[in-house]
């Protein structure tokens, strides 16, 4: 039973919720995630990264984007509502060390899990250069929070509505071409973005950490649904990750696996969106 203490909409379809989870707040470290299930009986379990935590208040902050039925239903909840099941913190925490200059790239909703990592890297004494990417200005999240910790902040939008009109790989390549080149790169975002970030840094041999968000059921190693191929070996994102050496991950296979239930999910989301539309129009209760 985890009560929602605060809910804020950050962008179109992007929400921030702060929920009661005292044990998770106490234990969690940057890079870790939780599994969320809204109700026990028929709801789905989905992994969400922990964006922040306040052990004093006993709360954790989750930032999510509405992409399907479950996140849609999650977005319908309000302050005071209950999420029945939250399990965590899961996954291995980020390995934080002083490397020197670290470039941290966040794309879309991936900016949320990047934030605690950036803070920890800064605290460990690194020079932190942050590249944030979004499709358009309205979808960019956590700009101020990132600005507060960054030694340098570069913003890119696909449509040029804010910052540079570029993909994040463009400034990344420029940074790699400088002398000295960055000592380490963290990239969190859509699989395709992480793939091309890893491709970009490979040529410069800059170690690149990516954080994977795959399909999961239990999040404890039991189901193996989250498996990815890393350096030719099968790894479980939930217990071996979520962070891996980006140069070793088979992103193409991962992207195919992410689409395993696409038809089902699309239909479920559409059905549920329509139901809610109808409910709104007829003045009935939304589900």
């Amino acid at each position: 039973m985890n009560k929602i203490i605060e809910k804020v909409q950050l962008a179109e379809n992007v929400y921030k919720i702060r929920i009661e989870a005292p044990l998770i707040a106490e234990e969690r470290k940057p890079g870790q995630f939780v599994i969320v299930q809204i109700t026990t009986d028929y709801a789905e379990r989905i992994p969400l990264t922990i964006a922040d935590a306040d052990p004093g208040q006993g709360t954790i902050t989750l930032i999510f984007q509405v992409v399907g039925k479950t996140t849609h239903n999650l977005a319908l909840l309000n302050k005071g509502d209950i999420i029945e099941n939250v399990l965590g913190p899961l996954g291995r925490p980020t390995h934080i060390e002083k490397s020197g200059t670290v470039v941290c790239i966040g794309g879309g909703i991936g900016i949320a899990p990047l934030h605690p990592i950036v803070k920890a890297l800064k605290q460990a004494g690194n020079k932190v250069i942050i590249i944030l990417g979004a499709r358009t200005k309205e979808l960019l999240i956590l700009e101020q929070e990132m600005k507060a910790v960054a030694d340098q902040l570069i913003i890119c939008t696909d449509d040029g509505s804010y910052g540079r009109k570029a993909l994040v790989t463009e400034p990344l390549k420029e940074l790699c071409e400088q002398n000295p080149k960055p000592d380490k790169v963290f990239a969190i975002g859509p699989a395709i973005m992480m793939k091309f970030c890893a491709e970009t840094t490979r040529a410069f041999a800059v170690p690149t950490v990516v954080s994977l968000n795959t399909i999961m059921v239990d999040g404890t190693g039991m189901c193996g649904g989250c498996r990815v191929s890393v350096g030719g070996k099968t790894k479980f994102v939930c217990v071996d990750g979520p962070e891996f050496d980006g140069h070793q991950v088979d992103f193409d296979n991962m992207m195919l696996r992410l689409k395993a239930y696409q038809n089902f999910e699309h239909k479920a989301y559409e059905d549920c969106r329509l139901e809610n539309e109808i409910a709104k129009k007829t003045g009935g209760e939304s589900i």
């Binding site: 379990r45 059921v217 239990d218 193996g224 689409k259 089902f264």
Partner: protein, 495 residues
Amino acid sequence: MSYLPPEELRAQAKQLYIQLKGKQLTNKERMHIPLQDMPSQAPDTRIKNMEEVTCGYSKEQAYVEAMRCLQCKKAPCVAGCPVRIDIPGFIKAITEENFQKAIDIIKKDSLLPAICGRVCPQEVQCQAPCTLGKALKDVEKAVSIGRLERFVADWEREQGKVSVPAVAKSTGKRVAIVGSGPAGITVAADVRRHGHEVVIFEAFHKTGGVMVYGIPEFRLPKAIVQAEVDLLKKMGVTIKTNFLVGRTRNLIKLLKQDGFDAIFIGTGAGLPKFMHIEGENLVGVFSANEYLTRANLMKAYDRERSHTPIFHSRKVAVFGGGNVAMDAARMAQRLGAEVVNVIYRRTEKEMPARAEEVAHAKEEGIVFHLLKNAQRILGDEQGRVKGIECLSYELGEPDDSGRRRPVPIKGSESYVDVDTVIVSIGNDSNPLIKQTTEGLEINKWGNILVDENCKTSLDGVYAGGDIVLGAATVILAMGQGRTAAGAISARLEAR
């Protein structure tokens, strides 16, 4: 053996019951009493629903079956039972039609008879050495001990006669149990009886471990597992779900900071094995754990209400020959697959699955490919499974497990057209507790090392079930749970 509907089996038994009732029989006469088949839903009906396949004995069937027992002095069945239930004793009570006495005898040694009666592999345990089976030269003709156990356990539950075990006066000592599967439930009940405070930590949102996420409703109704869990709650056991020991809190903190005097680790073998063959990460390849968890725990079989998706399969291949493989195959069929193939590299004789499950699977039309093993999984251009390539095998010399080693036959490649592969070749031990608990010793397979009292290398920490044994059975987990519980209570009382 052809299918007979439950009414017919029960009617036959009624006739026999009238003939046999109150009679003193010689052993020879007992040997001639026909084995009582387990009534079950008709195969073509049950593959369209999730309800339990078997219906259980009627009172008369139980009586007739119990009359087959020779009550032999040496009772080899007891030695075959991992928890040494007084089998001739409880069977005798059934012939006296004193079912309360029968269940009381069982419960002295087994806490979960309704479950074990359904899922134990009796034909390799209690029923294997049965004198009657030996005399009739067929282990399948042994006394149906498991069915009788189930009968009296169900009778007790249906009568509403399950009593809450007495709990001794509070000792003020606290015991943490990690995992709510059969081992954990057993330890919880036994330790609680001694008056210790018990807290079970379960990672999932529901209690019961493999009995709720793994074993399907059609083989073990969840209401039965829930009844056992409810009983624990009535005894005053606290259950904390959504709590992953090793992550939500580590084991050492439970012991050093949270004031637990002892801990039992019963986390199961939760890390599915894969074959490490080409194509195993294609879309449409699942571990049996994932497939069954989606279907059972997440109720994906209820496509109307469940939000958890499950693959719509037309042609399925299941790799493996254990109970989990049978469960996955039969589940796939119930979820609408047109053809379900079981690929197993030995023969039916070596299959680790319970004989009844294999028989049921065959009745339901599951196709068995014996002495075959997949050597690669083929995908289409979208990375989805389109078929498997198999090799034929023959049996060679016995291996370490005592089973004859399967040897591939060169050039025997064959192809099976499938869109889904379910890998069901067992589990490795989950490394999480080991990774987060300093000083806990494990063997090379990652199983926790314990002594004869199920005590680990850490003081106050005990372990049992699959995390110690590797993938085993409910009854073995329960047996270890009893041993650990005894040692924990002895330790706490000595302090």
